[in-house]
Symmetry: C2
Subunit: 168 residues, 2 copies
DNA sequence: GTCCCGGCGAAACAAACTTGCATTTGGAAG
DNA sequence: CTTCCAAATGCAAGTTTGTTTCGCCGGGAC
């Protein structure tokens, strides 16, 4: 049954997803291989309408990408490490340089510039501690601007994902 | 032209992806909407062969899932926060209870049990600091087992993803 | 009241995915 | 050394899925 009649729920002109978009996102960020027909049934919309909304959200950047999640341990990268990095200087050009250097390393899965007792937090994936040691040499010891860093080795990846909580 | 002849690269019996699998994964974890025909051209395999390998990696868990990446700021969750949590007791049953409680919260995007000066590291997504304050009350202050926690607010999501570095 | 605009649903179209089969190869057994 | 078996490939057909086009309806502006 179709609760929403034509025209009663206009698509957002440019940004701000409505409740239909959010319902679609909730499904897609769990499994983006779900057929649009099933999505339509779940949210009470036709398949083309779902398609249009998805395409729009991809173009406007609400959907940043569609990716396969790879299990690191299955491809020889079983170790996940968190690093808090504290810089010597917080000059903006040095901050930007650090951002670029951290981002360029493929082992750096995630990099955030943060407030608080550290300047950066990195999430790193490596094959073994030797690889991590080599990486610290490259990223931290060879950089004159790193004052200190603290390492946390993950023993259990309790919950991993990029899922965003959605209202509704 | 087909460089690799039939049988010259036997599929691994159960685990350990070969170089073909890794090449496919490298593409899929960047964009899993890539047509299998294009993947085949890129890795010198036919489309059905690509399909079989993908299916197998999904069944064996090498590919943990296929998801759409949602931009948090576009859905009203612009704030990303890191929290280091230190527990009072490290009794295993209390550790497990903490894992369950943290995982159950939708705002907790990622949760890792770690070594070092903290016990857990959480990645949290919220709409505003008020929501974070309420969450800290629920997760930390109401829990008798949380000794202390340190908060880092992300000013810049420099690099975000679940991409695993792949040899080759 | 009339016109214009935007979105929706149904159907036709195109593309991709999936499946079965014959072929070839590498390795093990005789 | 020869033979057999298991496994993976490529090709081709069938099926599902995603995409586009069309006509219709409701709402806002004049």
């Amino acid at each position: 049954m179709q609760v929403c009649f034509a025209g009663t729920a206009p698509l957002p002109t440019s940004p701000s997803p409505d409740s239909f978009d959010l319902a679609i996102l909730a499904i897609l960020q769990r499994d983006n291989t779900t057929p649009q027909r099933l999505i339509g049934e779940a949210v009470n919309l036709s398949a083309p309408a779902v398609q249009r909304r998805i395409k729009r959200m991809e173009q406007t950047g609400v959907i940043a990408g569609n990716v396969a999640v790879v299990e690191p341990a299955a491809v020889g990268q079983p170790i996940t490490i968190f690093v808090e990095v504290e810089l010597e200087s917080e000059r903006s050009d040095l901050i930007d340089a650090a951002k670029r250097q951290f981002s360029a390393a493929p082992e750096v899965q995630q990099c955030y510039y943060v407030t608080g007792e550290a300047d950066f937090i990195l999430v790193i994936t490596v094959a073994d501690m030797g690889a991590y040691e080599a990486l610290t040499r490259k990223l931290f010891f060879d950089s004159k601007n790193v004052r200190k860093f603290r390492t946390f080795v993950a023993m259990d990846r309790v919950k991993v994902g990029l899922t965003v909580p959605l209202p509704g």
